[in-house]
Structures are given as C-alpha cells and as structure tokens.
C-alpha cells in the first residue's frame, strides 16, 4: 500500500490551514466590491432638470425575453421644463421575480431611462414585494451605484465602426476610381 501519495495528499490538505481563508465571516463589516458592470436591480432615472427620462416608447417591453415589463404610456404631453411635447408613461411595472437579468431592456432604451444598479433589491416576504412598481423604480434611483450598462454605452460599445481606421481623404478616392475604370 503506497502510503506516500496518501501522506502527500494529507500534507497538502494540512497546508491549507495556514493559508488565509477565502470566505468571510458574517456579519461582515466590509463591503463586497462589485465590479462597475455588475447588474442587479433596476431604477428609472430623472434627468438633470428633474424630468422623468422615460418616454413610454415600449422598446423594453418588446425586447424582454421573459415579458416582465408592462408599460402604460400616456399620449404626448407638454413638458413643464422644456415646453416641448414628449411622451410619458403613467404606469411601469417590472416583475423582478421572473427577471433573468439579461440587460436587454437597458440596451434598447433610447433615453437611458432604465438602468441597472449594483446594489441588490432587499428581499421581501411575499411575491408582491418583488414586483417593482413605478414609484419603487424611481425610488431606487436614490440608491445610487448605477451599473456601467446603459443604452448609449452599449450603442458605443457595439458600434461596428468603433476603433477602425479613419476614412481615407478625398484625393486617394479619386485615384481609386480611376483604377477601377481600367480594370
């Protein structure tokens, strides 16, 4: 019975006792640092004038794979801040029970109105506690800690022309067309 590999295994196991433990003991005073892109719960945002950003376009409702967003848009109304007509929504419900956190609603929003947060929604005692109504979504904004993902960020990131070479200047274009004529 070759005892030596067994003893080697036992030595490796014992060595772990003297290394720093990887788990943290609760209650933990520290804060787990989440990456900037961490996505957890949702918030609807206001812009710098205090206006709601959501224009009720229903893009998020259409793209959601789990059909958890339900939106009731109002018609076009005059905005008290800019004076121009824009859409609003009167009711916005997001059922966090069934959300799969795919971030597609964030990606398609043209106004960057819906964003995901890096803090988590606190758990509740009933299913209704996790259905985010419009008030709760606007309240979540005060939690801060927005995730990196937003409509414009995704648009910039996934731009097919991003980081490519600058388009050629006019002179070379003319030369190229003459070459094409000969062939």
């Amino acid at each position: 019975m070759a005892l030596f590999p067994t003893l080697e295994a036992m030595t490796i196991a014992i060595k772990t006792i003297f290394t720093r433990q990887t788990t943290e003991v609760l209650p933990w005073k520290g804060q787990r640092t989440r990456s900037p892109r961490y996505r957890s719960t949702f918030a609807l945002l206001h812009d710098e004038h205090g206006e709601e950003l959501c224009i009720g376009c229903k893009m998020c409702e259409k793209i959601c794979p789990s059909d958890i967003i339900k939106l009731v848009p109002t018609g076009r109304q005059e905005s008290p801040v800019t004076g121009k007509k824009r859409g609003y929504c009167s009711d916005f419900t997001l059922d966090l029970n069934a959300c799969i956190f795919c971030e597609l609603c964030v990606q398609v929003c043209p106004e960057d109105a819906i964003r995901m947060l890096r803090t988590r929604q606190s758990p509740g005692y009933s299913r209704e506690d996790l259905v985010l109504t419009m008030d709760r979504l606007y309240d979540n904004e005060s939690l801060g800690l927005l995730s990196w993902g937003s409509g414009t960020n995704f648009m910039d990131a996934q731009d097919p022309k991003r980081g490519l070479v600058e388009p050629e200047p006019e002179e070379s274009k003319v030369e190229k067309s003459s070459k094409d004529v000969t062939t």
Binding site: M1, L3, R37, I63, P65, L104, F154, D159, P160
Partner: protein, 414 residues
C-alpha cells in the same frame, strides 16, 4: 446488434488502438426474465433525488447483490421546453434563454446559437470579437472542468470527507474566474455576452491583469490537485479500470469531448473544424488511451492546462477594433434571417460537441424568429452510454462513472 454504416469510416484515419476495441458489449436490452427467471434481483432507483446524480437524473438499476445487471436512465426531469420557447422569441432574445441549458459553462451555449445565426446571415464577427469569444470560451472550459473534477471527487470521497476538501479547493479557483467574468459582463452567471455579429461587452482596462493573475494561481493549484488526487492510492483504486468506454461504442453513440478523447479518439473541433479564433492558434489536444474514469480525469486536467496556455496566448495580442459586426440591436426584430434556411453549426464545449440546427420559416420574407431551433447537447449522448457501460459494475462504480462522464442535466433535458 451490428451496424454496417457506422461512423467509423470517417475516423479511419485516426487509427484507433486495437486493444480495447474488442471489449465484449453489454446488452442494454437484456430481458431480466431471461437473465434471472427466479426474479431475485434488487430493483433500485438511483435518483432523481440523489446527492450525486449531477442534476435530476433517474437511473433504474437491476442489481444482483452489489453488482449491476441492467441500467436504464430516465431523463426529462429538467425539461423546460427551451426549444419551443425559442420558436417564439427573436434572435436577440434567444441568447439569454439558451444560457440556461448548460448552466455550468453558460457562454458556450450562447456562442453556439450565435455562430449558427451568423452563419445563416452570412455575417463574420470582427477579429476583436473573435478573440474575445475565444478567450471567454477557454475560461469557461476551465471553470467547467474545475467544477467537474471537484464534484467528481465529491462523489468518490463523500460530502463529508476527502471529496469535500477537493470540491472546496476547486470551487475557490472557480470563484476567481467568475470574478473575471463579473468584471467583463456584469454577471457571475448567465451573462448574455454574445450577440449576433459579435459580443456585447468590451474588455475593461484592468481585465487582462486580473485574468493573468487568476491564471497564475490556477496553474499552481492544478499542480496541487494533481498532487492531491492523481497518484493517490485510493483514488486510483476507485477509478483505474472503472467504466471503460470502448471508442467504437462511443463513436456509434455520438459521444464527443473529453469522454471520447480519453478512449483514444483524437478528435477536437477546436483543431479540426475551427470556429471563433481557434484557427490562429495550434490547439494541443489531450488524449488518453485507457478509456476509464482515470483517463477522463487526466484528460480534463490536461485540458485545463491547455486552456491556461491558450488564454495567455490570446491575451497577449488582442486585435483592436469593433466588437460587433451589426449595429446595436434596438428593436427586438432587428436581426432578420432569410427564409428557407436550414443548417447545422457545432462548437466544442467542455463536454463535447454542442450543435445547433436552425431552420427558418418557409416563405419569401426574412423572419425575426426561427421556425425550429434544435440543440444537440453532448451530455445526452454521454448519458446514453450508461446502459452499455454500467452493467457488471458495483453501485460505487456507477456513481464514479456518472461523475466522470460529467453530464449536465440542464443540457440533456433542455
């Protein structure tokens, strides 16, 4: 049960080793009345609730004392109708849905379907996206093998015992990889990272440092796992010679990935039918000859090392440029694939060949939803080997075989 038109002709060039291709085949359709008319066999259910069936799998065993005579797996406990759901979702919505098939390495599912969509559209992702896809695929392979080895040691050694120690150690390394993924995509699991035409998240600044640091630690720890398990007397006694998979049987059943490579078949889609950026690099494929559980373990460890090498290679030179070939999807129906298309695309995941058969609706118009999306999971074929491999083994061996085949029931049942 002889078949004349097996797939062996395709693999003739591989020169299968002669020694273990002459294994007598267990008859999985043995009638128990013929075997034992007295009816003294113990009929036992392994699962569906069981600490080590890797998901919800039920295996009905006919046991003659401690030895299994016949084994029949029953699947479908985790069937969620993913393929049916995909028929009513657009191509962008399908990606987060199929994430949940193989829930241990989710990005590979996304990669499979997105490559299928891109082939149907005729779109090539830009080079940066290809390289990012490859890096991420290799990291997923590493994390999947870490989980596979950990849970297999757990099966062998006990939830309260040496196996648990190996399990905790491999999961500690897996956490580092999951943190890297969180930094890249924002989620630790179920990332929705790939899209038709490329990827959705670009690499953040300090990502390469974190990944390379994680790789250094993992490489050192793989040595520690080898020291802990590979030469261990008990481990070898439990796994050498147990569950030998005949390569001919494996090829007939459609088994791919580390399971068949451990039986000597040198077939790896990363090298033989490259996808993503695998044509830029020379993938060294790990094979073993024995075909038993120990060989499968060795192949997985070797693949982990190879993944470390590949990720380091790709991280050194990631091309600049865009990460998506199509404009960002703003409308759900933005991606439309021409009608009357049907085609099969396959990639190499940690478990084997994951294939996608895509059929678009007939007609003239382009459509935003597929007509049929069939997923070919590698674990299904691994589970189908159980009636052939299990008979003649103890119950403990069956657990070891099941663990070393590494099936994931989410992918088997979809």
């Amino acid at each position: 049960m002889t078949t004349t038109n097996t797939t062996n002709d395709q693999f003739k060039h591989l020169n299968l080793p002669p020694a273990i291709t002459d294994l007598p085949r267990n008859n999985p359709h043995i009638s128990i009345d013929d075997y034992d008319p007295e009816g003294d066999l113990l009929v036992m259910n392994l699962g569906p609730q069981h600490p080590s069936t890797h998901g919800v799998l039920r295996v009905k065993l006919w046991m003659d004392g401690e030895v299994c005579v016949k084994a029949v797996p029953y699947i479908g406990y985790l069937h969620r109708g993913v393929e049916k759901l995909c028929e009513h979702r657009t191509y962008v919505q399908i990606t987060p849905l199929v994430d949940k098939n193989d829930y241990v390495c989710p990005m590979t599912n996304e990669l499979a379907v997105n490559i299928a969509f891109e082939n149907a559209l005729g779109v090539t992702p830009p080079p940066r996206a290809q390289v990012i896809r490859t890096i991420v695929a290799e990291m997923q392979r590493m994390s999947s093998h870490l989980l596979a080895v950990g849970t297999w040691a757990l099966d062998l050694g006990g939830a309260l015992g040496g196996g648990a120690t190996a399990f905790m150690h491999t999961f500690r390394e897996r956490e580092m990889l999951l943190d890297c993924f969180e930094e890249l995509t924002g989620a630790r699991f179920h990332y929705n990272h790939h899209t038709v035409g490329g990827v959705r998240h670009d690499i953040p600044e300090s990502w390469s440092t974190h990944v390379l640091k994680a790789l250094d630690i993992i490489e050192a720890k793989i040595d520690s796992y080898e020291g802990y398990l590979t030469e261990n007397q008990v481990f070898k006694a439990r796994s050498v010679g147990v569950g030998i998979l005949d390569p001919k049987l494996g090829l007939e059943l459609g088994i791919s990935g580390p399971n068949i490579r451990a039986s000597g078949v040198d077939w790896d889609l990363r090298r033989d039918a490259p996808f993503a950026a695998y044509d830029l690099v020379d993938v060294k494929v790990a094979t073993a000859q024995a075909g038993d559980c120990y060989a499968r373990y060795q192949v997985r460890i070797a693949e982990m090392r190879e993944s470390v090498r590949l990720v380091r290679f790709f991280m050194k030179n990631i091309p600049t440029g865009p990460i998506c070939a199509l404009k960002q999807v703003k409308l759900a129906t933005a991606v439309k694939i021409p009608a009357n298309f049907s085609g099969y695309t396959c990639i190499e995941t940690a478990r084997g060949e994951l294939g996608t058969w895509l059929v678009t609706p007939p007609g003239k118009k382009k459509s935003a939803m597929p007509y049929r999306l069939k997923i070919r999971p590698p674990s299904l074929h691994a589970v189908s080997a159980l009636p052939w491999v299990c008979p003649g083994n103890n119950l403990s061996d069956i657990i070891a075989i099941l663990g070393s085949m590494d099936p994931i029931m989410g992918e088997v049942d979809r």
